[in-house]
């Protein structure tokens, strides 16, 4: 479970995030929905303890991530916006490298890798060097690498950005399976269909602040719209006026 309370961050004079709060519960997929530049990536970076919030608090399964970032990170598996692989290592070696950094032993790394290969459909390229991989293959390896330690909390920054239908489906299926296993999944996106297709809870952010929180039905209801895209536009513009 991830709890975010009023976190803020500014770079120079620009305030990227203003007192954002959200709750991502176990067994649910929570979305951080916002346009480009709304502060999603900065918020995510604070949540996964890569940068320190100026105000507020992030707790991961009760661990304060500012005070104990290493322990908090051990409870999370993160697919960040940056998903570069090591081109001279095979997909399997890329995954094993992160497994070792997670402090896993070799046999656990092996069995967990085999499981992820099976579930994400990576059999064909798992033992190839990652140079020349397609976008879809790269994201699958990056997800497997991030989740090799089977973390309770899964955070993904725009996971299906630029992927084809088949890869997108494979990843959605995977996330739904993880949800069924009781995992807490938080992901940021600007793609409405995606959020609509997989998410239980949605937090709408714009210009660094939270505009609305709730299920898709709830957002449609408060905005008086019939689909998520219109609801989003309405919520964001309303926000600007107020």
């Amino acid at each position: 479970m991830i709890q975010v309370e009023k976190i803020s961050k500014s770079f120079g004079k620009v305030q990227a995030v203003k007192e954002i709060s959200l709750l991502a519960e176990d067994g649910k997929i929570t979305a951080l929905l916002g346009a480009n530049g709304a502060g999603k990536t900065t918020s995510m970076r604070m949540i996964y303890a890569l940068i320190t919030p100026e105000t507020g608090l992030v707790t991961v399964d009760g661990i304060n991530s500012t005070i104990n970032p290493v322990a908090a990170r051990a409870r999370m598996g993160v697919l960040p916006d940056a998903r570069g692989l090591y081109l001279r290592l095979t997909a399997r070696e890329n995954i094993a490298y992160f497994g070792r950094l997670q402090g896993m032993d070799e046999s656990t790394i092996k069995s967990r890798t085999n499981e992820l290969v099976e579930r994400l459909g990576m059999t064909k390229f798992i033992d190839r060097q990652t140079d020349g991989f397609s976008q879809g293959q790269r994201v699958k390896v990056a997800i497997a690498r991030a989740l090799v330690h089977d973390p309770q909390n899964i955070l993904l920054d725009e996971p299906t950005n630029g992927l084809d239908v088949m890869s997108t489906r494979a990843i959605r299926t995977f996330l739904k399976e993880e949800k069924a296993r009781g995992k807490c999944i938080l992901f940021s996106s600007h793609v409405m269909q995606e959020v609509s297709a997989v998410c239980d809870e949605i937090t709408v952010v714009d210009a660094g602040t939270v505009r609305a929180v709730g299920s898709e039905e709830h957002l449609l209801e408060i905005s008086g719209q019939s689909n998520l895209e219109d609801a989003f536009v309405s919520l964001v513009t309303t926000g600007e006026d107020s």
């Binding site: 322990a71 570069g84 001279r88 992160f98 402090g103």
Partner: protein, 394 residues
Amino acid sequence: MIGSAFKTVFFKEVMENIRDKRTMMSSVVMGSFLGPIMALGIIFMTVQMGKDKSEKQLELPVINMQFAENFEQFLLSQDVKILSIEKEPETAIKDKDHDVILSIDENFGQAMSAGVPAKVMLYYDASAKGAANISVKRVRALIRAYSSQIGHTRLQLRGVSPSLINAVSIEEHDQATDQSKGAQMMMFLPYFLIMGLFMGSIYLAIDTTAGEKERKSLEPLFLNPVNRVDVLSGKLAATITFGLMTLLLTLIAFKLTLPFYPTKSMGITLSLGIVDMVMMFLVLLPLSLLAGSIQTIIAAFSKSFKEAQTYVNLVIFIPLIPSMLLMFMPVKEKLWMIATPILSQNIIINKMIRGEVIEWGTIGISILGTLIVGLVLAWFAVRLYNKENMLFSD
């Protein structure tokens, strides 16, 4: 857990870069073999050209030889091949047709008979490269020999002992040994070794920092539950390993090229024993920490691989400065010099090459001085990524 992150990062970086042919070729192999082979080539050519000029029959173009028949006989008796020349001597020298041209003054014969100095003109280019000067020297020596031969005859005819004109005679005592003469040829060795060390670690210093940032793999890496200092220490250790590997190869490459040096014709001795090699490696060992750390710091501040490459390549010129200074001005070493990194390694290795005895205290001060500077830089390098704004390239 702390130790295991260091090891994991270290082995991954070493393995990944050994797989990269570009790293291996550009920094490790080139860095180590290029220097010794180039040095061998240059010395070989210089010696060969000098030998040709000083041993081959001297070909001398002479203008107005008919004015000095006696001199002509002398030159022929000295195995000189006299050539005639059509061009103006100034032009012929400028066009590099000949190294040196002799011209006899038209009053040569009269001056000879009158017992006043007879004039000859020597045309040459003093700024011409190496071997040309050998020809000029040979011609000048021939003229002096002829002049003194005639002079002596004249004095004897007048009943004066020719030895009277030699008021002082010089007896030469050159203290240079064959080894120290050889050492002069090997002045470049410390520079090549330090250069190899610096070149070997360049690629990794960049690849593990700016390269990782550019590939966008730095952020995922730091999302693992590990201390950033451990990760950077592992990276730095891998960088240093490649520097040392290149240094070792440079020493081996140099050892392998030694037998090919034309030592006999130069009258020198070149030797590099296993003990010397081990000592040189030991003296240079702490320098690898300094080189790797400086390069890592510079690369970490760069946003892209190319940017880092530009700056880090400039660092290669740092070791050039003390090496050049020592080549042109032999100084008596002082304590501060022994404690100064790079300068101290230059001094100590030069001494080793000259076959001088080096006290353990000197080596100790050199190692300690370099180690302290290296550790300070390394301390700084492994903490660079604790700053948030260093993590992202955007």
